[in-house]
């Protein structure tokens, strides 16, 4: 799953985008890993994540199957972290998303001290990840470099839409919906945080960064990106 590897943007655009994953290796350390993964998610709460995710059940902003018309006036766009923690029911990839480096650094230090034994990966700019590892006094083990997009790139949308849609690497956040949300914010029909929350609900593993999305949408409204 390269669901965060190819997030689009230059290095600076990831200054508010840090994803820390825990993953059990199939057949190596997945047996008995469920309580460790749950602990990983619980530990993240102390560092104020903006999203938590479980690759099987989704993130902290989820669609609902039981909406009624009155919810238009009382709909919450706040993440429900406990739903992710309580809903984790099988070993899978779990993630915590932070919008500042200090939080990600603190979290990685705490995870190292807890010695969970799970494989831990940091996804952000290369410099950002190196600094986080340095702060935790943990030499990097392996790196997966993104070389970006090639081939028929003429089929891709503009850079703002690409920066938004690639925050769900599984492709669940469509280019068209991103464009629609940017347009709605331009028209004043929704705020950037509301538009970001709509997009986040389509990301099925909870790695969508609503802070970065709101920033990109706001900048797109003013044509600053």
């Amino acid at each position: 799953m390269t669901n965060t590897l190819h997030r689009f943007g230059d290095a600076d655009s990831f200054h508010d985008d840090y994803i820390v994953f825990a993953i059990p290796a199939k057949g190596k350390n997945d047996a008995g890993s469920l309580p460790k993964l749950r602990k990983f998610l619980e530990m993240a709460l102390a560092f104020h994540p903006i999203n938590l995710g479980d690759a099987r059940n989704g993130g902290a902003l989820r669609p609902r199957r039981d909406m009624d018309p009155t919810q238009h006036w009382r709909r919450s766009h706040q993440p429900d972290f406990q739903a992710v923690i309580q809903g984790l029911d099988a070993p899978t990839t779990v993630s915590a998303v932070f919008d500042n480096r200090e939080a990600a650094e603190g979290f990685l230090k705490a995870v190292k001290e807890a010695d969970l034994g799970m494989c831990v990966t940091v996804s952000t700019s290369l410099d950002g990840a190196e600094q986080i590892c340095w702060a935790a006094n943990q030499p990097r083990h392996s790196i997966n470099y993104s070389l970006g997009f090639e081939g028929r790139t003429d089929q891709l949308p503009n850079r703002q839409i690409l920066m938004l849609s690639t925050m769900c690497g599984h492709g669940m956040v469509s280019h068209s919906l991103c464009k629609k949300m940017v347009d709605w914010v331009k028209e004043g029909r929704r705020s950037p945080p509301e538009a970001a929350a709509y997009l986040a609900r389509f990301c099925s593993c909870g790695i969508f960064n609503t802070t970065r999305a709101a920033r990109i949408i706001d900048a797109a409204r003013r044509r600053q990106e």
Binding site: T2, P63, C119, T124, S176
Partner: protein, 280 residues
């Protein structure tokens, strides 16, 4: 995916959320309709849209009245107001579309959700990519373009010809090969379209330049987008003195990646050496 015409009220919300642009409101029937050829069975519409359970007849009547007054029925943009989506029961080979497109479905071949790959995310435990080697993920179709297996086939054939390249055994695309030596995929899936798929290979660093040259040449003939990821093992100081300079020499401006921080530990009873990759 099927949209129940008895429930659909043609609000148009789903036409925006489909990553493949495969949903449109048919002007004749005035119902949202799925282009089955373009649909990759990702279920983004079914799982991603929240559901209300409004009465379709009432909504259509109100919509017509609003339209007459130049007003518009305007539900929340991430809602299907009448819960009209009904997943089809998929038979082979169409079932392969969902396996490679819906991240909630674990790949049977690897048991891993998403793209079904672990790459170097578990390299601290599996030891799959060693010093002096590289792992490469050649991903097709993302973001938002999609790929037909016939295009994946062309790339697999090209990579299999490079001496010393091995396909990762625990990979969903490899599991669909009838001949790993030539990179040949099974015939019955070639005309199926998926959201994305990843060919995963491994070789020694001295082969990296040749592999990238082959990928660049082959992708010119594919009708999709290709994204490359190159995985490496760092030295004891956490540095990569081999691959990054080579990538920069080849013209790549590399600034993003996933970093395995090396906290993983194999369970005590499972310290056997990693399984070898399949030799092409």
């Amino acid at each position: 995916m099927y949209i129940n015409p008895n429930k659909c009220v043609a609000c148009g919300n789903c036409t925006y959320v489909c990553p493949m642009g495969a949903i449109y409101v048919d002007p004749a029937s005035r119902r949202a309709t799925v282009d089955r050829n373009e649909c990759v069975e990702c279920h983004a519409c079914f799982h991603g849209l929240s559901q209300e359970h409004l009465n379709p007849t009432l909504v259509r009547l109100l919509s017509k009245a609003f339209e007459y007054a130049r007003l518009r029925f305007d539900p929340e943009p991430d809602v299907c107001p009448t819960a009209a989506f009904e997943p089809d029961k998929l038979e082979w080979p169409r079932a392969v579309r969902r396996a490679f497109s819906d991240p909630r479905v674990p790949h049977e071949s690897t048991g891993v959700v998403g793209r079904g790959t672990e790459e170097v995310k578990t390299n601290d435990v599996t030891g799959r990519v060693k010093l002096g080697e590289f792992g490469m993920t050649v991903e097709f179709g993302r973001p938002g373009v999609g790929v037909w297996f016939r295009d994946i086939q062309r790339m697999a054939w090209a990579l299999a010809k490079v001496e010393g390249v091995t396909f990762e055994k625990k990979n969903p695309v490899t599991s669909l090969m009838t001949d790993v030596a030539t990179g040949t995929l099974r015939d019955d899936i070639l005309e199926e379209k998926v959201m994305s798929a990843i060919i995963e290979i491994k070789s020694t660093v001295d082969k990296l330049e040749e592999v990238i040259r082959v990928v660049r040449e082959t992708e010119k003939h594919l009708d999709t987008v290709v994204s490359l990821g190159v995985g490496v093992r760092c030295d004891d100081q956490g540095e990569d003195p081999l691959v990054l300079p080579l990538l920069e020499k080849l013209g790549y401006r590399v600034h993003r990646g996933k970093t395995n921080v090396g906290l993983g530990r194999a369970a005590a009873a499972e310290t056997a050496p990693p399984e070898p990759a399949v030799t092409a």
